[in-house]
Symmetry: C2
Subunit: 115 residues, 2 copies
């Protein structure tokens, strides 16, 4: 078998449980190709700001995502250095791109750009 990092069952199931929520799973897929800030997610998922914040908190707690403040916004990005990132990546690879939601954001002029 090709060399693959094996993951403790306890940690694997915890990780899958976190991804087993449509909102968080979609967030991860989106973050794989775009950094996003909280207010963008609020638009995309049409969900309250605290709800989004709490989902991101869970992803951050196990370090699946990183945050970086840029002015008044906080941008989230995927943590590609995570020990379990190979697993994450192979899961996300089976999911459809979420281009539409980003495109829609841009069409509405709601995409946040920080230079």
């Amino acid at each position: 078998m090709i060399e693959t990092e094996l993951i403790d069952m306890q940690r694997a199931s915890q990780l899958l449980k976190l991804l087993g929520d449509k909102t968080r799973l979609t967030m991860m897929k989106l973050l794989q190709s775009h950094e996003c800030c909280v207010c963008e997610f609020v638009e995309i998922f049409n969900m309250s700001q605290p709800a989004i914040s709490q989902h991101l908190r869970k992803l951050k707690d196990i370090e699946l995502v990183k945050e970086q403040r840029k002015g008044q916004w906080i941008f989230y990005s995927i943590n590609k250095g995570h020990e379990d990132y190979p697993l994450i990546q192979s899961i996300l690879g089976h999911l459809p791109e979420q281009k539409d939601s980003i495109a829609e954001l841009e069409a509405q002029g709601l995409r946040i750009c920080c230079k």
Copy 2:
């Protein structure tokens, strides 16, 4: 990108939620290499028979596993024909083999064999 079946986000998250339980995830990993019957799982997980039965029910409901009666026992096996099996397989590939639990069963003479 290599041709990969893409999975609807709704179904993917539902699937990951089911795997996001240590017992069910371990069951799937075990089933990948061995058929098992309910009473074996009861021993392996040291859990009540109804609890095991209910976990298997959930896996069966979305057709991740198949059941086959052999005499008084009902054996469960992984459904390799499942539309999402490629995803399942890549997840399970990141998990450690569960040889010990089967070996322990055999040592205790609790492994069920049906000829």
